[in-house]
């Protein structure tokens, strides 16, 4: 019942936000290309831009999945770190092959997400507080694996694969695109995904149409944890060494991407393309910083401004729609 309503009202908002973001990203690329004398379009630069876009994209999607049901997940960043460290530990300390360690990392992510979801549903405590608590716990576990030590040489094969490119496009970025496509399909076509959106958009209407809101919440948190696990594996593949500080700087970007991408905090709306484009824009700010040798701290300032600007823009458009 409620699914058609959602698909009728949201695409209009979503498409315009996505269009604005695409134009913005396009403009940024043109400006960056011209001002760096074409340096941005060198194959090496493109590869670097895309390679380091993969993790922010997936972590943004990981946050987006819980925002879809009106929840938040503060533990995504530290969970990414935990899964990377656990996988590295399994390979170095236990001598497991990457074929086992990578699924184990995904499992850890999924289970942590499941725990978040169950805690939210069973205790009825606000999801923000639950994940604040699990964030603290997971951040402790993350250091518990190997202290502040660094894992290296865990799997040359995996790292070679992670740093390789296909037709000039980094493999990790292709993986991120694949993940994004699956998530987009999930919310657009699958019954479970549509039910989750319905729960997020209007829990009472969803309940009356026979959807279990609790199941949607648990599922969203599990998926979010799984995606954080994917991001952890990507970190593992991209760099030859991992330590427990991974993920400390991912929490704010995880919110920035979906919020800039037009995903509301109240639930019921997702935009995979918007979230991905927003991650690209944030990445371009990073690139600009590197190209122009600007103090890296400007990046945070600009990203903060962009988040606020994006929300204000969509807000004023919503108001016009209402009027």
């Amino acid at each position: 019942m409620s699914a058609p309503t959602i698909s009728r009202t949201t695409p209009r908002v979503r498409v315009t936000t996505e269009l604005v973001l695409a134009v913005l990203a396009g403009l940024a690329i043109v400006v960056l290309t011209i001002t760096t004398n074409g340096n941005l379009l060198q194959p090496g630069t493109i590869r670097a831009v895309l390679q380091f876009l993969a993790v922010p994209m997936v972590i943004g999607l990981s946050q987006m999945v819980v925002l879809a049901v009106g929840q938040m997940n503060l533990s995504v960043g530290v969970l990414t770190g935990l899964t990377a460290v656990v996988a590295a530990s399994l390979m170095v300390d236990q001598g497991l092959s990457p074929w086992l360690a990578v699924p184990a990392a995904l499992l850890v992510g999924g289970l942590a997400g499941l725990a978040n979801g169950l805690l939210v549903v069973l205790t009825r405590i606000n999801g923000f507080i639950v994940t604040l608590a699990t964030m603290t716990i997971i951040s402790g576990l993350r250091y518990g694996v190997n202290g502040t030590g660094t894992y290296q040489n865990y799997s040359p094969g995996l790292v070679d694969f992670g740093q390789s490119s296909l037709l000039g496009i980094p493999v990790v970025f292709l993986l991120a695109v694949l993940v994004a496509l699956v998530v987009a399909w999930f919310f657009r076509r699958s019954v479970v995904g549509r039910n989750m959106l319905a729960s997020g958009g209007n829990p009472i209407a969803a309940m009356l149409s026979g959807i279990s809101n609790d199941r949607s919440v648990v599922l969203a948190h599990t998926l979010s944890g799984l995606l954080a696990g994917v991001a952890g594996v990507m970190v593992l593949m991209m760099s030859g060494s991992v330590n427990a500080s991974i993920g400390d700087d991912l929490l704010l970007p995880s919110f920035a991407a979906p919020i800039i991408g037009g995903v509301a905090l109240v639930g019921g709306v997702v935009s995979v393309l918007g979230t991905s484009l927003a991650a690209l824009i944030v990445r371009l700010v990073d690139v600009a910083q590197a190209q122009y040798n600007i103090n890296p701290r400007w990046v945070d300032l600009v990203v903060g401004g962009v988040v606020l600007g994006a929300v204000l823009l969509s807000q004023s458009r919503d108001r016009k729609d209402d009027a």
Partner: protein, 354 residues
């Protein structure tokens, strides 16, 4: 005043600050907190007698509690509305920068720097409140974006004005605030208790915030706005102004917390306050303040800050590592909140039966 606020006149003043009267005393989270704190103090001091050592443990612990109670109140000020302030750490950092700047460049006395910190904090808090009311954007998003922005701004400011990461200036009196306790000041043979000099600053803030929400008209109207913005608007409360004021208060308390931490640390640095976010929620939530808004517990917040500090110091003495500490503190939060739920459900059942 009562004519304008019929609801407030109808309800007893305790109703909004404490639990509703229908709940029995043991459903009051503050009673549980006091019991847990007392139990932990007994446990830690029997395991490590040095836990009761005045100079090594008790004095630094009081200084920490002072800072974290104020940090908790900074969050509580907006939780009263059902809002959040994710920029607590960076508002504190910006205020501390401002204080450090005036000490360094203008050589102002200690208390003038405090006033500057409070002013800057209140201003930035009010700005965030203004953005929220004028745009209608969720407070979470606004303060998140603000935190991003301030994170960049604060380190840029330190880079421009402090040649790097910190002001090394020490205004007169800073060292005594940092190291002295009241027992260093004697009148004849009678010396003060071993309480660090930063504690009175926090006490003033605690009492002032408590009175503000319990007695002052603005504070009560903020709480009403938090419990139902529609009802508040219909009863003629200037809702937008109250929201700005609550955020301004939050910023002001961030300023105080930042300044107090700078005094405790003895330095104004760019990373100051970055550990504030978790404790800012921990203290009020443990103390029974809901995220939904409309009710606050100032005393609970102080107890919540005390509990987390006691756990931290105790586990430190037992030589727990930082990671184990994090796991335990996260678990304590979850267990405490789950117990709170259980207690609430039980109390309500009992209430209906009685």
């Amino acid at each position: 005043m009562t004519d304008l606020m019929p609801q407030a006149a109808a309800a007893p003043p305790e109703a909004e600050l404490a639990r509703p009267a229908s709940l029995p005393w043991w459903a009051n989270p503050r009673v549980g907190l006091v019991a847990v704190i007392a139990g932990l103090v007994v446990l830690f001091s029997s395991l490590r007698p040095s836990f009761l050592n005045v100079d090594l443990t008790l004095v630094p612990m009081q200084a920490d509690i002072a800072v974290f109670a104020v940090v908790g109140l900074a969050q509580l000020a907006v939780l009263s509305l059902g809002h959040m302030n994710l920029a607590v750490p960076r508002m504190a950092a910006l205020s501390a920068f401002a204080a450090g700047f005036v000490y360094d460049r203008m050589g102002v006395p200690l208390l003038v720097g405090l006033l500057v910190a409070l002013l800057v904090g209140a201003l930035i808090g009010a700005v965030s409140g203004l953005i929220i009311t004028s745009t209608g954007v969720n407070s979470f998003v606004v303060t998140l974006a603000l935190d991003f922005g301030l994170l960049g701004l604060v380190s840029l400011l330190y880079a421009w004005f402090a040649n790097g990461v910190a002001f090394s200036v020490r205004p007169a009196g800073m060292d005594s605030l940092r190291f002295d306790t009241m027992s260093d000041y004697c009148a004849g043979n009678v010396c003060g208790p071993p309480i660090p000099l930063v504690v009175p600053f926090a006490l003033v803030a605690i009492v002032a915030v408590g009175l503000f929400f319990r007695r002052s008209r603005v504070g009560r109207e903020i709480l009403m706005t938090g419990s139902s913005i529609r009802a508040a608007r219909l009863s003629g409360i200037p809702v937008a102004r109250r929201i700005v004021q609550a955020h301004g208060l939050s910023g002001l308390l961030c300023g105080l917390a930042g300044w107090l931490l700078a005094m405790n640390n003895g330095a104004f640095s760019a990373t100051l306050g970055e550990q504030f976010l978790l404790p800012s929620f921990l203290a009020p939530v443990l103390g029974g303040t809901l995220l939904a808004g409309g009710a606050v517990s100032v005393l609970g917040t102080v107890l919540g800050a005390t509990l987390t500090t006691v756990i931290q110091k105790g586990l430190n003495l037992l030589q727990f590592e930082l990671d184990q500490l994090n796991i335990l503190i996260g678990s304590v939060l979850l267990v405490a909140l789950s117990l709170d739920r259980v207690r609430h459900v039980l109390a309500e059942k009992r209430g209906t039966r009685a």
